[in-house]
């Protein structure tokens, strides 16, 4: 997509209204002809970041492929809330197999389409962070290293929300989950654990890796569009707040996601062939406390004696992200 400068910001959201753009540059969701691939009637919670993210991702991928798309889904919230038998919210061919094998199933779909001469049909695989960074990680890495023609999208809500909010390898330090309770001398998830799968994906040298959030849905759509223009293994890691698991009001999903980026805790970037090629700079930096305080999973940081030290470590990790990805101009640095 081409870009042009528009000197207008909506108050608060920093988003540009569609009406200021050429029709060709407007969002997929603004198009009355959009696929609406994850249609109404599903059982997602109010304010679910994953449902929002998935609808934008799949619709954008459908537009990019002219509707020639097959989706493979890992077990998890997205699968459960979208397909309560005998109903399905999916308006595209959709396959769910297991929790830990979505990338491999997608490889199989892509192989079958190639063998059948259906090269125009593309494959999207999707799962939550548990299905991606933990139980499906072996299959994900295999799909990456073979450079199979699959776009894999991880909707990261930082825990096993479908099973009742347990810790995953994507749960941030200090977060309370049902298996990292806010008790004892060091409440919440331990520091020094977890994995950064976007960087691991880059280490495979695959053609496209990007992160995004539901706070910037146009960016999310654009990344899906760019990913679908490329053949080979591609990875998109989308931060999707979970009101249930994070303990946030359902009307704050977008704002929380934005503060994750504006605090430096969730860097938004794009990488080609293992090299970072673009970052979304922080526009209005917020202290990490502003991001953490509205979330009940971090409440102990503001009441427990260990909270101050934990906050220092979280601030340091935001600083490290800002340095690594260059998220701030020098003059904006504190």
């Amino acid at each position: 997509m081409s870009t042009r400068e528009i000197r207008y910001l909506q108050v608060g959201t920093h988003a540009v209204g569609n009406r200021l753009l050429d029709p060709s540059q407007r969002t997929v969701q603004a198009d009355p002809e959009r696929a609406n691939a994850l249609t109404c009637g599903h059982r997602a919670c109010q304010g679910c970041g994953e449902a929002l993210g998935a609808r934008y991702v799949v619709d954008a991928a459908l537009r990019a492929t002219g509707g020639r798309l097959v989706a493979v889904n890992a077990t998890g919230c997205l699968e459960v809330f979208s397909t309560p038998y005998p109903e399905s919210s999916w308006q595209l061919p959709w396959l769910h197999s297991l929790f830990g094998n979505a990338p491999a199933v997608a490889t199989g779909v892509a192989a079958a389409l190639r063998a059948r001469g259906l090269d125009d049909v593309r494959v999207l695989a999707q799962g939550g962070d548990g299905g991606t960074v933990d139980i499906g990680f072996g299959c994900l890495s295999g799909m990456f290293e073979r450079n199979d023609d699959v776009l894999y999208v991880c909707y990261d809500n930082q825990g096993y929300m479908n099973t009742g909010v347990q810790r995953s390898g994507a749960t941030p330090p200090a977060a309370r989950t049902a298996t990292t309770e806010a008790v004892g001398p060091h409440p919440g998830n331990p520091f020094g654990q977890g994995k950064d799968v976007p960087r691991i994906a880059m280490a495979h040298g695959i053609p496209y890796v990007a992160t995004a959030t539901v706070a910037d849905l146009r960016d999310l759509e654009a990344k899906v569009e760019r990913a679908m223009a490329i053949r080979g293994a591609r990875y998109l890691h989308v931060l999707v707040p979970c009101p249930l698991g994070w303990g946030t009001p359902s009307n704050l999903t977008i704002r929380i996601a934005r503060m994750a980026t504006q605090s430096g805790l969730f860097p938004v970037f794009e990488a080609r062939d293992g090299e970072v090629t673009g970052v979304t700079p922080i526009r209005q930096r917020v202290p990490v406390e502003d991001y953490l305080r509205p979330q009940r999973r971090f409440a102990h940081l503001f009441s427990h004696p260990s909270g101050a030290e934990a906050l220092d470590r979280i601030r340091a990790s935001a600083e490290a992200n800002i340095r690594r990805y260059g998220l701030l101009d020098e003059e904006d640095r504190p």
């Binding site: 509707g67 020639r68 798309l69 097959v70 493979v72 889904n73 699968e79 459960v80 397909t83 309560p84 038998y85 005998p86 399905s88 999916w90 308006q91 595209l92 061919p93 959709w94 396959l95 769910h96 197999s97 297991l98 830990g100 094998n101 491999a104 199933v105 997608a106 490889t107 199989g108 779909v109 892509a110 192989a111 079958a112 389409l113 190639r114 063998a115 059948r116 001469g117 049909v121 072996g138 299959c139 890495s141 295999g142 290293e145 073979r146």
Partner: protein, 419 residues
Amino acid sequence: MSVRQMEGARAVAETVAACRPQVVCAYPITPQTHIVEGLGALVKTGTLAPCEFVNVESEFAAMSVAIGASAAGARAYTATASQGLLFMTEALYNASGMGLPIVMTVANRAIGAPINIWNDHSDAMSQRDSGWIQLYAETNQEAMDLHPQAFRLAEELSVPVMVCMDGFVLTHAFEALEVPDQAAVDAFLPPFEPRQVLDPDAPLTIGAMVGPEAFTEVRYLAFHRQREALTRIPEIAGEFRAAFGRDSGGLLHTYRCEDATTVVLAMGSVLGTLKDAVDGLRDDGERIGVVGLTSFRPFPMDAVREALGAAERVIVLERAFSVGVGGIVSANVHMALAGLDQRYHTVIAGLGGRAITGRSLRAMLLDAIGGRLDPLVFLDLDRGLVDRELERVRGHRRSGPAAENILRDLGIVAGGPHR
């Protein structure tokens, strides 16, 4: 068609290639590996085309790739053994639960611990309830011939099929084999026409969640399809015989069972040695016969009852067992023979590649005929070795790992017995 001197695994690879699989996923595990190596070469040279050969990172991925490929309308194939079969267990149930007609060769091998690469049936037996049809080959020629039949059966019924062949004994044996002719296979096996397929022009949701309101019915349908297979397996074997002139497959084979008062049932390559032993006993005037079971899942209750019902004594010889119970095949045979007045023996033999010799079989069968055979027997068990280890266990709390102790007793591990 021509007869060539070739390795069993290579012959299976060429036969599978003649079935025109469109996606083959490969992960190495002994003793299966030569099969996927053979297929990989056939794809790379273009002999097998169009076909995507995918080198996956695990057996779990192999079955998962096959699931995706089958759901996207491709004929999908893989092969595995032993630990590999266990590693793909979750996906095996998923493939059968969704009714995806994948065909897989299992080169039967023991399961560890202790790790052991040699032949027995514990791997496939562990998956007897996975919803896959399981066909056991007696010979390499039958292992080959079962593959076109397996694809026919799988695709007609939408049920995945395992072709089980004994590791090493068959896979690595070189003998004169006849690879089915491509044109004949094409005539026997029509192109895959999926019952369900991921198609952008007709979007389907496959793999939805099903609750108590319909789960029983979905599972019953799987049961029903395997019952249908009981009819189709012999019919397809008949069509194969008509097309290829060979008697391969079917539910079971009988050998010298006419007027037999003692009948031995077994599966796989041991049937050859068993038939030799039975020939010897027949020469001595004993009324003894053999039933070779090809279809273990579905289990042919009626055919087994018909084949064994007239015998006074039934011996089930099996290369696996259920720890804490005993025979696995036997338990199924007993169900088939319920209510009959017969003597039953379960003989566990050939575990982890131990040779089942004609001499041991003959002695065991004579014991059975003479009324001296126990109901449950571990053939050629070295009781002395077992007793020495049991003694160690009684003597010391920290007696150490049993497997290593026994290897020391045998002198295979240097250093003498532990303590």
